[in-house]
Amino acid sequence: MNEFSILTHLLSDSHKLDDSFDQPPIIGSTEAQIMKALGMRGKFAKLHLVELLNTYADSIRVFGLYIRKNPLNHHWFLTKSSAISDLISSNPFQNRPRLGATLMVIISAIFTSKKPVDKKYVLKLRKKVSIDHDLQELEDMHFIIVSNSTVSLHPYLGYCLDLEHLFTALENSALNFDSNQSLSSSSPSSPTS
């Protein structure tokens, strides 16, 4: 049980770096940090870690908690299931579709180009007069990093968004959108009810 106590602390810990008080906290721990804290060494240290994380994940599932890995900074951390989370209060995009859509476009553009994207390109995709205010707000929320003329993702976003789930949903939406467009283009004279 002591391993679990330490693991709970390591995965739920949030701390700020000394020189970045205006930055969001770093949540959870890397594999190396966990192995060091638990004194896991040697060739099979990682195997033992995986085994421990597996057992731990099984134990905390009953509390509605899950272990996730932030793909943007490789930290393992804990998340709450939607059943026990107040998603309305925690999600800043619930009543702000424009801001959410801008973030979605930025994520998609970075995902498809595999590198930070130009602000002008995001503006072009959004087809708006200006997106400066959106970018400023998203940067204040620590979801993106705006540097000169480029936009990249902030590692903090990886804690708030299940990126794998997001890409699957995006892929499905893109396929549905494509098939709907194909249908409408193949039958232009079909009556609309």
């Binding site: 949030s14 195997l47 959410g100 973030l103 979605m104 998609s108 553009a109 939406s173 893109a174």
Partner: protein, 251 residues
């Protein structure tokens, strides 16, 4: 004067320790195999919910580890691992297929983003994937420190127990009595025959006493006879000359 019997018992102890090491090694190998199996089971579970992570996993070392561990004694466990391994491999291939598909759909996604101007639809994708990290900022550091100390103490105790077990194998004067068990009358006759055989050779070195016995089974059989004769005090070992010699005691 150094007790010559002590040296012989140390030799016997060495063989016992060797046997203990073999047992320990087998135990460690079994534990490693079980760890490997648990890891594969974990990957299998993870693969069902998170194919992205599976893509990052390099499975080749797992199979290499498996082949280095596996022998006929661990066949059952090995088969379970292979079953899980191949299952994961097929899942990984599916994940790679999915990833390639996703990459090939870059254009489709870009087209979707360019053409879809429905903010609600785009935002709904974000909302569906939103999650809340679970933080315990107010967890007691003293409790954790105590937990850590308990963990260290537990590991220390475990090590101490291992050392204690190892120490039990060293040879104190009381325990040497039990190390070589007394045997049947038939055994004593054989021992006496052997004793009579080596009397003309003594004093001499161990290698000379065991020279006629080339087969390993015979070698160890007569080596144990020498230990019995030493325990009985019929012969003694002189460490300075590295020789066995006859004592005044008679059988």
């Amino acid at each position: 004067m150094v007790n010559s019997g002590l040296l012989l018992f140390i030799i016997l102890g060495y063989f016992l320790l060797m046997w203990g090491d073999i047992i320990e090694e087998a135990k460690i190998t079994y534990q490693k195999l079980q760890t490997l199996l648990h890891r594969l089971e974990y990957l299998e579970n993870q693969a069902e919910v998170n194919s992205d992570q599976l893509l990052e996993e390099n499975l080749i070392p797992l199979f290499q580890e498996l082949t280095s561990f596996l022998n006929s004694d661990e066949l059952d466990l090995g088969l379970s691992i292979l079953k899980s391994g191949t299952s994961i491999l097929s899942l990984k291939i599916e994940a790679i297929k999915h990833y390639i598909l996703l990459l090939s759909q870059n254009e489709l996604i870009t087209q979707f983003i360019e053409n879809c101007q429905d903010d609600k639809l785009l935002c709904s994708l974000i909302n569906q994937s939103w999650q809340t990290p679970f933080c315990l900022t107010s967890i007691s550091s003293s409790f954790l420190f105590q937990s850590y100390k308990n963990l260290v103490a537990k590991k220390h105790t475990r090590n101490l127990n291992s050392e204690k077990k190892a120490q039990e194998l060293t040879f104190s004067s009381e325990k040497t009595e039990k190390l070589i068990h007394t045997s049947s009358e038939e055994f004593h006759i054989e021992l006496l025959n052997f004793y009579n055989t080596i009397i003309p050779l003594l004093p001499c070195q161990l290698s000379k006493l065991l020279q006629p016995f080339s087969k390993p089974s015979e070698y160890f059989q007569y080596f144990s006879y020498i230990l019995h004769l030493t325990q009985e005090g019929l012969i003694q070992y002189d460490p300075s000359k590295k020789e066995f010699f006859l004592t005044e005691k008679e059988m």
